[in-house]
């Protein structure tokens, strides 16, 4: 999967699951302020990303640093690029 495909898969999943507007999905969009998610949505976001991309997100600290949609893209791309744990 290219980075572009990954980004589009992430955006599509979030649009569908969180009922977001496609036009709002700019990389600089802040997930809380602009996309209207709240801290409680983070768990569901993790579940959505895990199932869409078949990954396991164990990185608590990395997740907490996420502010924008672009951060999510980078976080997931890094995760997919890193050698699988175990």
């Amino acid at each position: 999967m290219t980075d572009r495909e990954i980004i589009s898969l992430i955006n599509d999943s979030l649009i569908e699951e969180f009922e977001l507007e496609e036009s709002a999905m700019a990389p600089e969009a802040e997930i809380f302020a602009d996309l209207g998610l709240d801290s409680l949505d983070i768990v569901d976001m993790v579940v959505v990303l895990e199932s869409a991309l078949k990954i396991k997100i164990r990185d608590d600290a990395g997740l907490r640093e996420i502010r924008t949609l672009g951060d999510i893209h980078r976080f997931v791309i890094a995760k997919l690029g890193a050698p699988a744990a175990e």
């Binding site: 969180f18 009922e19 801290s39 409680l40 949505d41 569901d44 579940v47 164990r58 990185d59 608590d60």
Partner: protein, 530 residues
């Protein structure tokens, strides 16, 4: 009457939540669908004999233990009598085919000694493992005082499973079975259960295993008395049919199935997460959240056989004498009769049957998966609870035969169902009679509960023992929801059992009044004791 909070469900988590909220000045009502509070752990009486339903024994009830502290935090100090189970063997594990037997003695030190004695080659890994177990509990919120209170802890959710921990140390065979057998207390297999949750459940038992004088019924009575003192209103036979929202989308109260309604500005739902979803309009919680909750895995179901056991006074040896010798091999029948030589340790002990204060786990044949509930019923793991039987002549025993959840949905009409119940009752009675011949002739089946019964009492959609499972990689709900002043509590949030239920109440009320206040109160309670 307008309440600050209405709590849905008068189980242990609901009552505990209400008691804590009242302690922080909130006006609280609890609505319970059943005719009485906590119908599961309250057990039942039949022909003058009491049977424990959902409560069998507990860990951490010793002075300063985790459950002891939490019960005192609820304001129940000094109201319950603790009965310690058999000192040298509260849980006896028997593998009938191989005659393998092991009894779990009270306390970590004794357990480590007993395990090392039985498995000398493994004594080093046993010591390390027990230390790892204790260390894991120090990270659990509201278990250990210093544990962090973060509600989102991915490391734990995706952390190591019990299986991974046991594999790493190379545990195998009978020893491994002993370390896995308590999985029955939370209903998940070793590869599923996060090691931290496993540790949080078994640590208390490994420290000390006890029951309450009067069993689960006594606990419920004490909790209800405390509700009364705290000014909490308890309404039984009130089945909540919907949570009512104001035009602004805030909690306004609840409606009951019979048309009654109750005004409240907040709500704690303690029922099964999937049953909770049905009480709110679809638009309130996000579809993705609803889907997550609807997709949560369930714990297994079980057939539970209640047996009346007629023991003659003085026919059995004193419990202390028998236990002091540390012998359990007689339980399989090999040393029957020798117990009579043991001098009873006083009148009370003399009247107690030698099995009193002991539970039994009968394992499947070697080579079978310990917690495989697809095994034939005569080979499957079977648990017998003798812990409450400090009685003299007649006592009520509970045997649990775990089963796959959802099985009863296929059973036909009422005749077929009654037939199935009678069959299971007799099968379990015979299995126990064969395994423990000393009491075999004294057992009669008094009642059988199935997945269908559990479905009715627990309101778990598939008749599961503990509702939602705790599983590596599965995100169980947290207390807080997107709906303002709407919270969840119950075993799905923290862990199963009385301890899990109270812990969930602490987590949930902590979200409402502030965790630091609950922590301070807990600290005060612990310090009071010292």
């Amino acid at each position: 009457m307008r309440y600050d909070y209405v709590v849905i469900g008068a189980g242990v988590s609901g009552i505990s939540s209400a008691l804590l909220l009242a302690r922080f000045g909130r006006r609280v009502a609890i609505l319970e669908q059943a005719a009485r509070p906590a119908p599961l752990i309250g057990g039942f009486e039949r022909d003058g004999v009491y049977y424990d339903g959902g409560f069998h024994y507990a860990g951490g009830l010793e002075k300063g233990g985790v459950l002891d502290c939490n019960l005192r935090l609820l304001g129940l100090a000094g109201e319950l009598s603790r009965l310690e189970l058999a000192k040298s063997g509260y849980d006896t594990v028997i593998q009938p085919e191989s005659s393998f037997t092991f009894s779990f003695p009270q306390g970590y030190a004794a357990l480590q000694t007993a395990l090392s004695h039985k498995f000398p080659a493994q004594s080093a890994i046993i010591a390390d493992y027990l230390e790892d177990l204790r260390a894991a509990t120090r990270k659990l919120p509201y278990y250990h005082e210093a544990a962090p209170l973060s509600s989102l802890n991915l490391a734990e959710i995706h952390g190591q499973s019990l299986k991974q921990v046991l594999d790493k140390s190379g545990f195998a065979g009978d020893l491994r079975n002993l370390l896995e057998v308590h999985g029955l207390l939370y209903g998940a297999r070793p590869e599923e259960i996060p090691f931290a949750i496993h540790a949080g459940v078994v640590d208390g038992y490994y420290r000390s295993a006890a029951t309450f004088k009067g069993g689960g019924r006594a606990l419920v009575k004490t909790l209800v008395k405390a509700l009364d003192r705290s000014g909490v209103d308890l309404f039984c036979r009130h089945q909540v049919s919907e949570i009512v929202l104001s035009p602004a989308g805030k909690i306004a109260g609840v409606n009951c199935a019979d048309g009654r309604c109750l005004q409240a500005s907040g709500c704690i739902a303690t029922l099964h997460p999937q049953a909770m979803l049905k009480l709110l309009p679809d638009t309130v919680l996000r579809p993705v959240y609803r889907r997550r909750l609807n997709g949560l895995a369930e714990t297994p179901s079980a057939d539970i056989v209640f047996m009346r056991c007629e023991l003659k006074r003085g026919s059995a040896p004193g419990v202390r004498g028998e236990l002091e010798r540390g012998s359990t091999s007689g339980l399989c029948g090999a040393r029957r009769g020798r117990g009579g030589l043991v001098k009873p340790a006083g009148e009370k002990a003399c009247r107690r049957h030698k099995f009193a204060g002991r539970n039994f786990f009968f394992l499947p044949p070697r080579g079978e998966v310990l917690l495989d509930f697809k095994l034939p019923q005569d080979k499957r793991l079977l648990y017998l609870n003798f812990s409450a039987a400090n009685a003299t002549e007649i006592c009520g025993l509970t045997a649990i035969l775990p089963a796959l959840s959802g099985v009863d949905e296929k059973t036909g009409g009422s005749d077929a169902y009654a037939e199935r119940k009678a069959y299971i009752g007799e099968l379990v009675r015979q299995r126990i009679a064969n395994l423990l011949p000393e009491i075999g002739a004294k057992l009669t089946v008094a009642g059988v509960a199935t997945g269908k019964t559990l479905k009715r009492i627990n309101l778990s959609p598939k008749g599961s023992l503990y509702g939602v499972k705790h599983k590596v990689g599965q995100f169980n709900p947290v207390p807080k929801t997107r709906l303002e002043n709407f919270f969840l509590a119950g075993q799905a949030i923290a862990a199963p059992g009385v301890l899990g239920a109270i812990t969930s109440a602490l987590m949930t009320v902590g979200e409402i009044v502030g965790h630091e206040k609950i922590q301070a109160l807990r600290h005060e309670v612990i310090c009071d004791d010292e």
